[in-house]
Symmetry: none
Subunit: 214 residues, 4 copies
């Protein structure tokens, strides 16, 4: 079951009729279309994509939009939340990797996938979405704690960092594909990530001058 289907399920629960009947097949199909359309709209237009735009992309009317979705914001949050859950799952797979450092590197590479949601995900990580994503962000923080701790215990990430430092470092790759008027392509992210990982390794780092208040 992939990212989008889970967002679909969530929305179907939120709008379920109280008698507990199963949603009809066409109802599910429309939710699926709306979620996919919302994801595309976020990537292309940004989080300010209008309900009409998303409905049109999905090939349904606004009426159907609001029958299937509590609000425009709820739909966008469902999509963003699922993207974050995807990252959590990538982290879980990384934690099962026999080599802590390789696992961490693969997780970091997965983080790059966030760019696909462009500015939208940056705002979500930055807290612009209020408390709606809090639970999932907490899950994600926990994964960071475990992944960084494991790599530090193995002597592969410098010991003078707190796990909290790492999300701030990876913010560079979670940023949208443009900065300073430059546009990133695929190889850009590989290089950026490489330098970041280089800086995280233990061998001969410059000692840090401040400590994170853990």
């Amino acid at each position: 079951m992939d990212t989008l289907s889970r967002a679909v399920d969530r929305l179907l629960v939120e709008t379920a009729d109280p008698t507990g009947r199963q949603p009809r097949a066409d109802a599910r199909r429309n939710v699926e279309r709306l979620v996919a359309a919302a994801r595309a709209a976020i990537a292309e237009t940004g989080v300010e994509a209008s309900a009409h735009e998303i409905a049109a992309r999905a090939g349904v009317g606004v009426g159907t939009f609001y029958r299937r979705v509590p609000s425009r914001e709820a739909l966008l949050l469902a999509v963003l939340d699922e993207v974050l859950l995807d990252i959590c799952r990538a982290a879980d797979r990384a934690l099962e990797h026999p080599d802590p450092w390789q696992g961490f590197c693969e997780f970091a590479a997965a983080y790059v996938g966030l760019r696909g949601e462009s500015c939208g995900i940056g705002e979500a990580l930055g807290g612009a979405c209020g408390e709606a994503l809090d639970a999932t962000l907490a899950e994600l923080r926990e994964r960071f704690r475990l992944l960084v701790g494991r790599a530090q215990d193995a002597g592969r990430i410098r010991a003078d960092l707190a796990w909290q430092d790492v999300p701030f470092l990876l913010a560079a790759v979670a940023t949208g594909p443009r900065t300073l008027g430059l546009t990133a392509d695929e190889s850009q992210w590989r290089r950026t990530l490489r330098v970041l990982l280089d800086g995280l390794r233990t061998a001969d780092p410059v000692p840090l001058t401040g400590r994170h208040p853990r």
Copy 2:
């Protein structure tokens, strides 16, 4: 004279009366308030902050807003442009430093100042403001090229990077002060920057697998 006063001066010039008289004291005070309010609004609300919000923050009516400022967009751009120009000036000082690497590090630290504008500046760097900031962004790119080149020539930044890679790395510190529900304090930025710089240094880096198409 700091960033804000320069933005104030720019706006006063744009709305000056043709007879060339000095603006009245209350006029200048209100422009100052509006610029400060705009900066705060950009930081907290983002570049979509409304004219009413900015006017209310400044403690003036909308009418005053539009008497003092050509348009909402012009105000926001004036503020963002000044912030970017500040970075350019920091880069110019860094280029005069006798040690290329030390100069680069000081410039990178100045980049941290961008956080003050939080999401707003991120959007500006990401191109959300259209072409209005193009000229200043080009100036800034040129500084990056010189600073990185000088440090590479001195053997202090790894030679397998293009200068264009560096702004993407520094995007981490230009991001707003929150990520994953964590909030950065002053020491956070110092540590983040230290690890980034560590990864940029020449000694024994992991070789990159892609090259930037220069």
Copy 3:
């Protein structure tokens, strides 16, 4: 099919959905109401009637106004343009009358119908609507040229007039229904027109002292 229905059709075409389906009954009804309201508003308030006023007259919200009409200006112009086109059609019928003078008189009587739009049409004829009505005004001028020429060739309109003089004379009957605090009724226009036509006839007129630069 009368003037208003044609304006309605025009607007329906401009806002039609691309799939080519028929507009819904309530949509058409609201366009009809808006066109009628616009006509009434033009007559009473003039071309500066606000979108809110027109919407309120039509008994709909502003939102509906802008869903049904590209802009306030477009609605007013559609209405005014149709009124002018009605006059053109009256002129075409007059040109088919076997008696040139009778035809002209009937056309002149139709001009009286413009009063219904009162100040609004006066402004439209006077050029207050910019160039939006230019094409239709040119059509109307051409009709004047033909009608006056035909009546002059038949010796029924004094030969010392240019056709351009006649629209200025008929401006009297195109004016709104009030002047000097007096209000015109139906018989008023008949009498006004009679005297105007009297002055146009050939028999023994006072010679003109200026000639129109044709």
Copy 4:
């Protein structure tokens, strides 16, 4: 004492200070400038000319505008009222002419002068200015009654007209200088008026079919 000075006096009375002191010389000078500026603004921009525009034309600040004038509307009405009083005075002179018909013709020619105030005066005559001009319009109606009656008694205006018919006829020459996209010059008005007067004369007119309810 000409038109403008009387408008000036009126406004000086309306804004006089209660102790009854004479207005200062510079106060009068500013009112004079404002009245002249308003007249020019009405002619060029129309009655929608803004307070700022009029003040700027007069070379004073808005503050002075509102110190000297109760409101923008009051100033415009004062100007329009004076124009109407000018017409009354022309009528009075016409009533003293030994030849009733010649007197009437001269009055009619004076009516043409109204064009100078363009659309503004048309709206004023049409009643767009509410009741503010009622008194002066009543004066003007009385002059029409006398002038037309005198010429009818002398057998020079056709007897089947009521005096009320004549203002509607003369509306043609009180209209602004454009119609149908054509622009009137000086000779235009002479010709238009000639045909109107031609229609009014007694010799062999077409009998009217309606009578004015006197």
